[in-house]
Symmetry: none
Subunit: 207 residues, 4 copies
DNA sequence: CATGAATGAGCTTTCATTCAT
DNA sequence: CATGAATGAAAGCTCATTCAT
């Protein structure tokens, strides 16, 4: 009788998620209210429940989307020819949002994951996927002699990912800090970690 | 008949804070309720307000105490003779709690700081103090030729601190990961960052 | 599907105000609880806050409405031809409620105004408006030779208004008193105050 | 064993009542808290309950004391030779406090009496006593030809007392008003009400 | 006498969620 | 599809009162 256009439905859903994302970034998962999200998305509270079963579902979707994005970035990374440069670029890009003073929703997700099993599971699945991608990329680099062959690729991938989390924290801990300077240290650190022992050209990042 | 024992009062206060800390770790700052904290501390809701003006004050005290602890660790660090070894030890100690699966309250503080000005201020003050301590320590190491003299000490200190935040995140993202392996990468990374360029003894950390 | 009927909303608002008025008259501004008002209005506690931001707003609306009514009566007064008769009629009408034993909310407003700046302001604005109306009415009477020209019209207006407050108090102090007798004295008093000195027909009010 | 000095006990009781009176004047009967009263009286909450069974008892005592004072003033009145002058003086004195901007606790009592049976009873007993005193005084004046013999003494007494309530209200409704001017109207009004019809010397109050 | 720690019922207010229209 | 009125279960917090010391 009524043709529910699934495309339109999906579009609206995404629109609501975007609004929710803005609210979550501003007020946190618990702090943001359904009313706030509805106002931002310009729909009524009742209508929201046509798209999401409850608030938790919105949080879950945002969490998934946020992590999906990060993972997609990592997938794109595998295409570069210089593995270290690719990693640097990616880390830089993902911590770039910090410069705006908006820490985004990542810290919120991490804190929520510590308490909420569903979020935790999503986070861990996405993290594992990212880690696999990155580790594989590092191993390829090792095979090509461009990355320190002694490095534990899996563990190194995990640590590199956690650097991004750390850089989000850094933007809150020290907003007054010159991001150029801290980025440079970050790059030096990653470069020195990944570079093969004999080659020392990476030292140039400090000069 | 007369004097209130201020010692007893302080003891009770600390007892309540401990209970609150447990609740916050379990449910988050917003998720934990006054009733929950009171039950955990075995006092009545009304009585809690003899010790704290409001919930925010409890959050503030917990935040302050948690950060104080971290800072006190950094102050102790300055006493070691080998600066790199001292840094490694401290980073290790502060991310050690992760192994228990209890991420503690640090991620909660970071997420809360993004939205709450009072918490943010506390966090930033403590962070700055820690950064100063650590930067000074690094500079001394540079003067003694034990740390790369080209390193931007202030920025390096900031990044090192954020590594701890990252390691907390890591413990949630990948609890299944062997902490020994990730710790080793972490140590390698720090060692290579801090070591002076000519000396290559630090490479041994991988072997 | 669409428009909120603003008429219905306003009707409900008035309904709630009426319920609140009954509760305030029974229990006072502080004594009446939100739960009590909701029960009286047959709505849920949460729903009340769709119509009023907080309890104070309800008190303010009741205060405003109560005083508006009194002022509207004074405005109507200016139409009589015999000024003294008009004043008597109005004073009588406004203290008439007392006979039911229900003192209404006026004394509550007066007591609250002594401590609450917002209520005080409303009360004073309304009082000033009433006083201006009444003073102007008296001055017209003086011009027409029907009111004692030596009378300070502004001060007399203020005193006449306070007579109504006093009559509310009287109904509580002495409910057993014959209202006909006290009303007669009140009328005599007002008549003798307002009448021009030479004419003595006003004395008849006692006979 | 322990000699409870009943004099000291009574003194303390009065001290507490004075403190309570200040708090009630500032915050109202419901608004003032036991803690506030204790702070003002410089005693502990527990100790307060050695002197009063509960808060209601304090309110009752304050109510009684406040009304006692007013009644005592009326008793003193009976000694003057010119009855009208005595009444004027008394009304003036009792509304004098208003000039300080402090409306005192009378309006609070009136509002409370509308809802609380115990307070109402106290108020009505005291009011009746005052009314009897004043009515008798007026009757004596009538016998001596100094007060209008046609006046209903009882009702007039009631109305005169309510004038004082009204003047308290006036001080809140119109604090900006010149008290000298309103007092003068008040005096004129009372004088004209009470004066015997033939004598017209009272008119001088306006000149 | 005197203290203040302790209680717990009850207050105002918020908010995810439902449902008649 | 879409609305927003309506619900009601908490939440944080207050405060009169009690009681061990």
């Amino acid at each position: 009788m009524r043709t529910v256009d699934p495309v339109k439905h999906e579009e609206k859903r995404i629109e609501i998620l975007a609004a929710a994302g803005r609210c979550f970034a501003k007020s946190g998962f618990q702090g943001a209210t359904i009313a706030q999200i509805c106002a931002e998305a310009k729909i009524s509270p009742g209508h929201l429940y046509h798209y999401f079963a409850n608030k938790q579902a919105i949080v879950g979707a945002i969490t998934g989307a946020g992590l999906d994005y990060a993972r997609s970035r990592f997938a794109a990374m595998a295409e570069g020819s210089d593995p270290i440069a690719s990693v640097l670029e990616e880390v830089d890009r993902l911590s770039a949002h910090n410069r705006k003073g908006a820490p985004g929703v990542l810290l919120e997700i991490l804190a929520a994951a510590a308490r909420n099993a569903a979020i935790r599971r999503t986070l861990q699945e996405q993290s594992q996927a990212m880690r696999s991608l990155l580790a594989e990329f590092l191993r390829e680099g090792q095979a090509r002699g461009m990355i320190d062959p002694d490095l534990d690729a899996d563990a190194a991938a995990a640590v590199l990912i956690s650097l991004i989390d750390g850089s989000k924290a850094l933007s809150i801990r020290a907003p007054e800090l010159d991001t150029a300077r801290s980025s440079k240290v970050l790059e030096t650190m990653i470069t020195r970690l990944l570079s093969p022992p004999t080659s020392k050209p990476n030292r140039h990042t400090l000069s």
